[in-house]
């Protein structure tokens, strides 16, 4: 056990805790005294991100494996100069993926098909990458020190060794391990005898690496019951920690997904709680002097692995524990760690928590989401600025909110229909776009496929649901000859050779949006522009005989909303499907409402295909649902994502065909090329990217989209107009500095600069910002309707004319605007509302009911009264009788 050491640490911890509390209370008092908004002040310095140049990490260490021999000598078995690099470490967000690469490590053997979580344990010489709370370093106080107990693992087997026989208890012969940890039962001190009674059995060894949660709770980790809640079976997020492979040259890489306290509260990393990514290249345990006679543990500790470098271990066979990742916490492994300090950005709700001012809402495009995440604190934490808030919704919905006056500004990326007489300016705000994101594994444990190429026709095939998906779809009329999925489409195979040909339902679909979106409009216009693709949609078979799904034949392109048109319900013997008859292709396509959901589906390689059919024994009913996450090594998933999400979450983006044989991936250059091609019809309107120009130029990315802030140029109040103008100006200047800090432009966006192809966007933004701020008051003088004034009614009766009506059918002047048809007036920006409404009054209408009522009541009272007075004298007689 960690007896004396732990106790020492404990006492030190208490001392430091007290000190820290004193310092913090002093600091808080001081800030509260000096600043009006202490929290905001306290957070701003932390928010000041490290300059972009400092992002990233690279360190080299020499790692050795040594055996202490019986004669007192020490043999160095192996020595490696390992270099570990990380591409970004600053202002990370939850679920962001950091690319970690290394070189000089021992090549791995016995690779598992899925190296994540406990699936990665049966491997030899992997590189363990995990996220831990705390920092390494001499100057770091003990409470914030990184230790195995603050490192996250999603399963018990990854952190504790429970009831191991002598031959497996290799940490007890680790030559660097503490004396206390060589006891039969070690790790947590004191041993939680009550909670972990099963873990302490005579003649078996146990080492518990407890998990110390951020809140102070300690989870002993002796079984799955005593693990933190986020490590429960079927937790919301798949394990992120990985035992990654090193290739035969000693190099390797992994995209490691970091978790913030939003995703993992027990781990608790946030902008205030420092964390690290810990990389432990497993080079094998260093063994202590063997006992005499040499014990089984001593012998096992000196093993060098049974799998050859580069080999796979699909059968999940046992491995030599001395070189396995299971003992990453044992001192001779742990001392080889590289700890990469990372910082987290402000949480998404920062502005809501710290700024009580009412927000100025921007409504619309999700393309701006990642930029807005970094921009909004730069507004709300600055008292000179306003509180910026992006509300993501379909472009059209945001637009309607703006035009109807409910939202100050819309965020869109194409021109939308304005109401008549409502001048609207489009201010370019960011250059980004969409991508066809993918996660595809090569067969035979060959790693991820990184070179996906797609043509417009392949996208058309996916969108029109022209792959049959599985045997269930084969009966669809008119598609008998079509491939089951894109994996067996000869066109796809020709472009992307070397991929698995095993069909999957997820390979028959492209996860897309169900709502109306400018992204869908641009995607479909890219398809419509291509001759082969539009011929395919029109019904012409491709060279391999594949035809379009008849339900989508001749569908009109481009379009902002992609409909689900298929109606085919398969006839099967499957009782679950019989109980839940559904349109099969719609279950395959299952579009979602936001791009973020698609990004997460790709991140988790969890297709949104809804064909899983379960029997629920408790209700005795069949139910359909989403299929399982794809197994690592056989993943195939395509989806439309925004470039911002793709960069944030480290998703791969397909290269799209522009010319025959030319495939353009989204890069800064290809985005700039596309911006160069855009043209503006009139000032203050959007810049339009004609896909025909993209096809001609060849080097421009077809998914490039400029995101605009659209706002009314008249009728807004001065304060809102000032906010909007400020946003346009700030976002196109300060907001275009690339970086991960507050107010900076995240990756996935092309900075708008005053030189180069984006210069025209900057000019347009400045112009619109001025126009928004000016807010020309609506002109009131000239009535638009010809024929003069309120339209002379031709009726004789003053109460029967509709001069207030919009249509002038009864007007005497024959040249009035027809009520329907194209308006003769161009709704130019300067147009102002027309003449004032005139209403029709009707005296009779106003007096009728009150008059009738009054007369009726009067007459009623009179008649009742007269009867009463006539009868009254008779009453006494009647009473006398």
């Amino acid at each position: 056990m960690r007896g004396p050491a732990a106790r020492r640490r404990h006492r030190l911890g208490v001392l430091l805790g007290v000190l820290l509390a004193v310092v913090v209370s002093l600091a808080l008092g001081a800030t509260a005294g000096s600043a009006a908004d202490p929290l905001a002040r306290a957070i701003t310095p932390a928010a000041k991100a490290a300059p972009a140049g400092k992002d990233g990490f690279s360190t080299t260490k020499t790692l050795t494996r040594t055996f202490a021999e019986a004669d007192g000598q020490t043999t160095t078995v192996a020595s490696y100069d390992v270099t570990v690099r990380a591409d970004r470490t600053q202002n990370l967000r939850g679920r962001q993926r950091v690319r970690i690469t290394w070189s000089g490590a021992q090549p791995s053997g016995g690779r598992a098909s899925n190296p994540y979580g406990e699936n990665g344990l049966a491997q030899e010489y992997p590189v363990v990458v995990m996220q831990c709370r705390g920092r390494d370093g001499a100057g770091v106080p003990a409470a914030r020190q990184l230790r195995p107990e603050t490192c996250w693992t999603a399963s018990v087997a990854q952190r504790s060794q429970v009831l191991r026989s002598d031959g497996e208890a290799l940490w007890r012969v680790d030559r660097f391990e503490d004396e206390a940890d060589r006891e039969r039962v070690s790790g947590i001190d004191p041993f939680p005898a009550e909670q972990c009674a099963d873990a302490d059995v005579e003649s078996y060894s146990t080492h518990l690496t407890e998990f110390a949660a951020a809140g102070g709770t300690v989870f002993p980790a002796c079984d799955s019951e005593s693990m933190p809640p986020e490590a429960a079976v079927g937790a919301a997020f798949p394990p992120a920690e990985v035992a990654a492979y090193t290739d035969e040259n000693g190099a390797g890489s992994v995209k490691f997904e970091v978790r913030s306290d939003v995703e993992n509260e027990s781990l608790g990393c946030s902008h205030t709680v420092e964390c690290s990514i810990v990389v432990v290249p497993i080079v094998g345990l260093s063994c202590d002097t063997p006992s005499t006679p040499i014990s089984i543990a001593d012998r096992a500790c000196r093993k060098l692995g049974r799998f050859a470098p580069g080999s796979s271990n699909f059968a999940n066979e046992g491995v030599d524990q001395a070189v396995s990742p299971a003992l990453w916490w044992s001192e001779s492994n742990w001392r080889n760690r590289f700890s990469i300090p990372i910082t987290f950005g402000l949480p998404p709700d920062t502005c809501d928590v710290l700024d009580t001012r009412p927000p100025t809402g921007f409504y619309g495009s999700e393309l701006l989401a990642q930029a807005a995440l970094q921009w909004s604190p730069a507004y709300c934490l600055d008292t000179k600025r306003f509180k910026f808030q992006l509300n993501q919704m379909p472009d059209e919905a945001g637009w309607n909110l703006m035009t109807s006056g409910e939202g100050p500004a819309a965020v869109v990326s194409s021109e939308h229909t304005a109401l008549a007489g409502q001048p609207i300016g489009y201010a370019p705000t960011a250059v980004t776009g969409f991508a066809v994101g993918y996660v595809i594994d090569r067969p035979e444990n060959g790693g991820e496929y990184t070179q996906l190429k797609l043509t417009p026709r392949l996208l058309a095939k996916l969108l029109t649901q022209s792959y049959v998906g599985s045997d269930l779809g084969r009966g669809h009329p008119g598609m008998a000859g079509n491939p089951v999925s894109i994996l067996n489409d000869p066109e796809f195979v020709e472009l992307n050779p070397g991929l698995s040909r095993i069909d999957q339902e997820a390979g028959a679909t492209l996860l897309s949006l169900s709502t109306s979106a400018d992204v869908v409009e641009q995607l479909t216009s890219y398809i419509a522009q291509n001759r082969e693709a539009s011929a395919f949609v029109a019904g012409k078979a491709d060279p391999w005989g594949m035809v379009v799904n008849p339900s989508y034949r001749k569908i009109e392109l481009p379009r902002a909303e992609w409909p689900l048109l298929d109606t085919y319900v398969p006839q099967t013997q499957n009782s679950c499907r019989q109980a839940n008859p559904a349109v099969y292709f719609n279950q395959l396509a299952a579009p979602v409402t936001t791009l973020r959901k698609i990004a997460e589906a790709l991140l988790d390689s969890h297709p949104n295909v809804q064909t899983r059919c379960d029997y629920d024994a408790s209700t005795q009913q069949y139910k359909v649902g989403r299929i399982d996450r794809q197994s690592f090594g056989a993943r195939f998933l395509l989806g439309i994502v925004s470039l911002g999400d793709a960069e944030r979450y480290g998703l791969r983006a397909a290269a799209l065909q522009t010319k025959p044989g030319r495939f353009v991936p989204p890069t800064a250059q290809s985005l700039a090329n596309a911006v160069d091609l855009t043209t503006q019809k009139r000032t203050r309107l959007p810049f339009v990217l004609d896909q025909a120009d993209v096809a001609r130029s060849g080097g421009a990315y077809p998914g490039t989209m400029v995101v605009y802030t659209a706002a009314k140029l008249s009728g807004l109040d001065a304060e809102t107009a000032g906010h909007l103008a400020q946003f346009v100006r700030v976002s196109t200047t300060e907001g275009q500095r690339p970086g991960s800090g507050n107010g900076e432009l995240p990756a996935g966006f092309l900075p708008i600069r005053d030189t180069g192809p984006t210069a025209k966007l900057l000019d347009a933004a400045d112009d619109v910002a001025d126009a928004i701020e000016a807010q020309r008051p609506p002109k009131t003088s000239p009535p638009a309707g010809p024929g003069g004034g309120d339209g002379g009614p031709d009726s004789s009766d003053g109460g029967t004319t509709p001069p207030g009506d919009l249509t002038p059918p009864g007007r005497s002047t024959p040249d009035t605007t027809p009520p329907t048809g194209a308006p003769t007036q161009d709704p130019v920006l300067t147009a102002s509302p027309t003449a004032a409404t005139t209403t029709v009054d009707s005296g009779i209408a106003g007096r009728l009911l009150p008059g009738l009522l009054a007369l009726g009541l009067l007459a009623g009272v009179y008649s009742a009264a007269s009867r009463f007075f006539v009868r009254v004298p008779r009453r006494p007689e009647a009473g006398g009788r």
Partner: protein, 271 residues
């Protein structure tokens, strides 16, 4: 004698008020039920009218305004008599749901007052119109009263729906609906409208107009009432009072109802 005459006056006045405010609502609801069924059948059979000329009185659209909980079948024609059964579509405008400006008139105070609450609509409220061509969602752009600016003609592809009714003012606002009021709503993607609409409507179908064409019918109705009176007098000679009451009262009520409906046609169409 005077007392009887006054009683008659009271009866006539109060009956008219009762019919306008209460009984008319019943007949309006019943008519809507039938129209709904008819229009539903037409929609299902894809034979719902799309214009340009629709027989007067036929259902042309189903209009829903969730904000005020209104659902009405719109009929063709805006004469006072047409509006007894529900909101009416003005015949020289495009049908609701089509590109261009569509005018729909509705009563604001009597006969169920289908448009009694539309002035409570605010910008952004949704009006859903289901017509033979499909569903169109309008977003209310504002309520217009005297002096408010008239919006410009709609742009290409835009559909605008203008609801017209009458509203009163003051303490008896509900009973004194005497001024027209307009509620504009706009939809960016309306359906195309076929050409060939009438270019004008008769005077009786304009706002706040009455329909003098009902006068001959009114004469017939009054004659019917007179005949009924004579028949009652004659019957009183032969039958007992009870029998006469039983036989005559339903006839009298029916005749009175019919007559009042006819009188209604002589009154402004939006009240």
């Amino acid at each position: 004698m005077i007392s009887s005459a006054v009683t008659m006056v009271a009866l006539v006045c109060l009956w008219t008020v009762l019919q306008l405010l209460v009984l008319g609502g019943l007949s309006h609801d019943r008519a809507q039920q039938f129209l709904y069924g008819e229009f539903r059948q037409q929609l299902a059979g894809s034979v719902a009218p799309v214009g340009p000329v629709v027989p007067v009185g036929d259902p042309v659209a189903l209009m829903r305004i969730p904000a005020i909980g209104m659902e009405q079948v719109v009929v063709e024609g805006t004469a006072s008599g047409d509006l007894l059964v529900g909101p009416g579509h003005r015949r020289d405008t495009v049908l609701p749901g089509q590109q261009g400006v569509s005018l729909v008139y509705g009563r604001g105070g009597t006969y169920g007052a289908p448009f009694g609450d539309i002035t409570e609509l605010v910008e952004g409220d949704v009006i859903v119109v289901v017509s033979g061509q499909g569903e169109t969602r309008y977003s209310v752009t504002g309520v217009r009263r005297s002096g408010d600016p008239v919006p410009l003609p709609p742009v290409e592809g835009e559909g605008r729906l203008t609801l017209v009714t009458a509203e009163g003012s003051g303490r008896l606002a509900g009973l004194t609906a005497d001024t027209t009021v307009f509620v504009d709503a706009s939809s960016p993607d309306a359906f195309p409208a076929p050409p060939g609409r009438p270019t004008a409507v008769p005077e009786s179908e304009q706002a706040m107009a009455s329909d003098p064409g009902a006068l001959p019918l009114l004469a017939l109705c009054l004659a019917l009432l007179v005949a009924l009176t004579l028949a009652v007098v004659a019957a009183r000679e032969r039958w007992s009072l009870t029998v006469v009451w039983i036989v005559a009262s339903p006839l009298a009520i029916a005749a009175a109802w019919l007559t009042t409906d006819t009188v209604m046609r002589l009154l402004p169409n939006l009240i």
